[in-house]
């Protein structure tokens, strides 16, 4: 039997990696990938916690299904926002608006 703490350590490392991707990266697509990695970490933790909980309930699995469905929708929305950002600034660089403001003052 695998101890629950192993799953939780893995989930938290994944969440940490995702936070790193969201905080450090400039490319908007990397930021989105970081958010998805956080989602994966959270779902692993939820399913593991629900299974090891006594008595067993389907709360974790049900919530995971809802999270996966919402993840698909938020990725689609993020893609649209990324397209709009690209149309406005001509790049997917997160630092572009700041640089543009420094140059033009707008």
């Amino acid at each position: 039997m695998i101890p629950l703490s192993w799953y939780l350590v893995l989930a938290f490392i994944l969440i940490g990696l995702g936070v790193y991707g969201m905080m450090v990266k400039r490319n908007l697509i990397r930021v989105l990938i970081g958010a998805e990695i956080i989602g994966n970490g959270v779902t692993i933790a939820l399913v593991a916690l629900a299974l090891y909980n006594s008595p067993f309930t389907f709360t974790g699995q049900g919530l995971t299904i809802i999270i996966i469905a919402i993840a698909a929708a938020h990725t689609a929305l993020a893609m649209v926002l990324m397209l709009m950002y690209h149309r406005r600034y001509g790049t997917v660089d997160l630092g572009q608006p700041v640089r543009q403001e420094e140059i033009t003052g707008v």
Partner: protein
């Protein structure tokens, strides 16, 4: 025999965990964004292995269908649609100070959550007799649609709102170029002079 099964499960877990962490790292750090998107897809499909270990085969199938089949494909399409997304200069952060702050916050998150995972007295095992795999999907459907159907409907509404919002945002720029709608039937819109000029230039 029981000891051998436990050892086999633990080795399986360690192999999967190593693979997931390497793929997640590559998805964030590989210099070519196209490869990074593929690594993310692979990572999502390996995560399904954990759901199989956790007696949740339906979630594993859903993970592969939605994450690997849907989300990673969407990210790859996004990379292909955005012309400068593959620019390798984007992979270098302009100031090392911002990177240091990011790494610091990440470390704090990981250390705090690591303390929680290792020090809290989590249960070491679960009672496998309580979980009947043949009944799993049926019970899950009952949980989801029977007692918690309202949450599924709320989720559906949230997703619908998000997608309508996405379409509206895409259409917004075009709408901003149009003057208020006039005319006898309320359908003729006068185009903005600036927009007409750009159209003429394009022609």
């Amino acid at each position: 025999m029981q000891g051998f099964e436990t050892l086999f499960e633990q080795v399986e877990f360690i192999l999967l965990a190593g693979l997931v962490l390497i793929l997640a790292y590559l998805a964030l750090e590989h210099e070519d964004i196209v490869y990074a998107a593929f690594f993310f897809g692979m990572m999502a499909s390996v995560v399904a292995g954990f759901y199989l270990l956790l007696e949740a085969p339906f979630i594993a199938g859903m993970q592969i269908a939605v994450y690997t089949g849907g989300i990673s494909a969407l990210i790859i399409f996004g990379v292909l649609l955005l012309p400068r997304a593959q620019d390798s200069t984007l992979e270098v952060f302009p100031t090392s100070r911002a990177k240091r702050i990011g790494v610091l916050i990440t470390s704090v998150v990981m250390i705090l959550s690591g303390i929680l995972a290792l020090l809290f007295p989590w249960p070491e095992s679960f009672v496998s007799e309580n979980i009947n795999l043949s009944q799993n999907l049926e019970e899950l459907a009952k949980w989801l649609w029977g007692s918690h159907g309202i949450y599924v409907q709320m989720t559906a509404l949230i997703i619908l709102t998000a997608l309508v919002g996405a379409v509206v945002i895409m259409k917004m720029e075009k709408a901003e170029r149009l003057e208020p709608i006039k005319g006898e039937f309320g359908i003729e819109a006068e185009t903005h002079p600036a927009y007409t000029e750009t159209q003429e230039e394009e022609q």
